[in-house]
């Protein structure tokens, strides 16, 4: 059974309950207590010990259906997470086979196999997975693999007070997401759209098992506009290497033979 997350950013209130619940359940260390000065976001990004991250965007643009006392200003909030890509850059790049696809179609790093090579870190087009310095291995959201095996809802979705984070069977979630977009469009919020729900709209990842409802360009939320698993473009490089190898052979042979003749 394929399960996933549908994160509807329009009902996120920025309470960070998901961040806390994730940290608690997965017993993740803190990332220092720093003040970033970037709105209410002192977490900054996803990482080895941050598997849910709430982004705060302050825009000088009004949001349909919302009035503030501050004129042309609106706030967007989004709880970000590993996308559990259908074609995952991290999984394809992992040289040890530590990163696997689970029976729930999620992407899982097996901590007993990972040798901390760090290649997945550079291969994730979303900047999600990272290596933990004190531990040496790569870590990211497991989509609560342990809880799912016991039939439980992932900790973040369980804790979310507004159902901005919805967990469930993928096909179910997609239907709910589509009708939510329709509903918002009917209310006049034409800018609402789904990010990553459709394989045809994001061919580079063949769609995301954790997808989002957004109301502005992906970049505004620090999401890439057209992400692609790096493995998609690797064959061009192998072909160049083959060409280089032929050139190396030819040049070496030519140098040896010509030095013989010109004696």
């Amino acid at each position: 059974m394929a399960t996933g997350f549908f994160t509807d950013t329009t009902v996120c209130i920025g309470c960070k309950a998901c961040e806390v619940a994730c940290k608690q359940w997965n017993q993740l260390p803190d990332d220092g207590f720093s003040f970033t000065g970037t709105s209410y976001d002192n977490t900054g990004d996803l990482g080895a010990s941050t598997w849910r991250h709430v982004a705060f965007i302050e825009r000088p643009v009004p949001l349909t259906g919302q009035t503030t006392g501050l004129g042309d200003l609106s706030w967007l909030m989004m709880s970000d997470v590993c996308k559990h890509c259908v074609k995952a850059g991290c999984l394809e790049a992992c040289p040890t086979g530590s990163i696997i696809r689970t029976e729930f179609d999620s992407v899982f790093v097996q901590p007993d196999i990972c040798n901390g090579c760090g290649y997945c870190v550079s291969a994730c087009p979303f900047g999600v997975i990272d290596r933990r310095p004190d531990d040496g291995r790569a870590w990211k959201c497991t989509l609560c693999y342990d809880r799912q095996r016991e039939g439980m809802t992932p900790a973040c979705a369980q804790a979310c007070p507004t159902e901005s984070i919805m967990f469930g069977e993928l096909e179910d979630l997609k239907q709910r997401a589509r009708s939510r977009v329709e509903e918002l469009h009917d209310r006049g919020m034409g800018e609402a759209y789904l990010y990553g729900a459709d394989a045809s709209e994001q061919p580079g990842t063949q769609g995301l098992n954790a997808f989002f409802l957004l109301v502005d360009e992906p970049e505004v939320y620090n999401l890439p506009p057209a992400p692609s698993a790096p493995v998609n473009h690797i064959s061009e490089s192998w072909r160049s290497l083959a060409l280089g190898a032929i050139a190396l052979l030819a040049a070496t042979a030519a140098s040896v033979l010509s030095s013989k003749g010109g004696r």
Partner: protein
């Protein structure tokens, strides 16, 4: 805040508080050093095998030298790669699968195969009879696997989400092979060989270094297809190293042309060439780190890529 903000540059896409959109590569200095050492070892193994086939016993000392460089390079290279792991004691996990989608997995297989064969070739080259024949076979095998070893690390870099590496993906493998060949020739030129052997090595070295210079231009051009992505080749420490590498390679070519007939002149040229090749690898490594930090590069390479 960052959205819709009027700025001087026409290129600016929206960002999230200007924070990076992809993670910086976690690799440390061992990795660019390995790129140099492993590449030179691969090219040396290939040069040795070609000499073995075309020259037979005539270039015995040069072949031996090639095998030694290949054996030492793959040994040191493996050590560097293992020490860069977060869990070095688990390095053998690299070989628990065979996974063509992962350039790092393919590279691990290439490296262990090359290590074994070139060590065998180096150790057996002084023996006689059957063992000598085995050594020759190992030398040929090492030469074959040396071909991908000389440049697969460029495929490794291209197979990431780091914009400047991704956008250099067609020309970078060629640059790596050329630079590795130049590096191997530099190491060989430091030795003392007969005139004919040296002539072959110097010719190949010159061709490799000229190609290296041309291909560095090609890499810059390729990455510049998306405006702004190639900036790390121009700015910052990576840019300085990039230009330094070019300067050193040009210097090596000039010194070799002018004074290459004398031993000190040759060694001087070889040292410059070696430093140039090392500087190139460090430049590319740092360029990747700078590029990953730049969210505009990440976003623009996806919005504007022609494919």
């Amino acid at each position: 805040m960052s959205h819709d903000q009027a700025t001087t540059s026409p290129r600016r896409s929206a960002t999230y508080h200007d924070l990076p959109a992809v993670k910086q590569p976690v690799w440390t200095w061992e990795v660019p050093v390995y790129f140099y050492v492993g590449g030179a070892a691969g090219a040396a193994a290939t040069i040795g095998a070609v000499l073995q086939v075309l020259d037979g016993d005539d270039s015995e000392r040069l072949v031996q030298r090639c095998r030694n460089i290949a054996a030492a390079g793959t040994l040191v290279g493996s050590g560097l790669l293992i020490s860069d792991l977060g869990r070095p004691e688990r390095f053998l996990n690299m070989l628990r699968v065979f996974k063509p989608s992962s350039p790092l997995n393919m590279g691990s297989w290439i490296l262990v195969t090359a290590s074994g064969l070139s060590a065998g070739a180096a150790l057996l080259s002084r023996s006689r009879g059957v063992f000598r024949r085995l050594g020759s076979l190992a030398g040929l095998g090492a030469g074959a696997i040396g071909l991908p070893l000389s440049g697969y690390t460029a495929v490794l870099l291209a197979g990431t989400a780091v914009p400047v590496w991704k956008e250099s993906r067609r020309s970078m493998p060629l640059l790596f092979v050329a630079s590795a060949t130049g590096a191997a020739c530099s190491l060989l030129e430091m030795g003392d060989f007969d005139e004919r052997e040296l002539k072959a090595v110097r010719r190949l070295g010159t061709v490799a270094q000229l190609s290296e210079l041309a291909l560095a231009q090609a890499v810059e051009k390729e990455s510049a297809r998306v405006p702004g992505v190639g900036r790390p080749y121009e700015e910052g420490i990576s840019g300085t190293l990039w230009r330094t590498s070019t300067g050193l390679t040009v210097g090596s070519l000039v010194v070799d042309t002018v004074t290459g007939k004398s031993r000190p002149g040759r060694v001087g040229a070889a040292l410059l060439g070696t430093l140039g090749s090392i500087a190139l690898r460090f430049s590319l490594w740092l360029a990747g780190r700078a590029s990953a930090r730049d969210p505009h590069a990440t976003f623009d390479s996806q919005r504007m890529a022609d494919d």
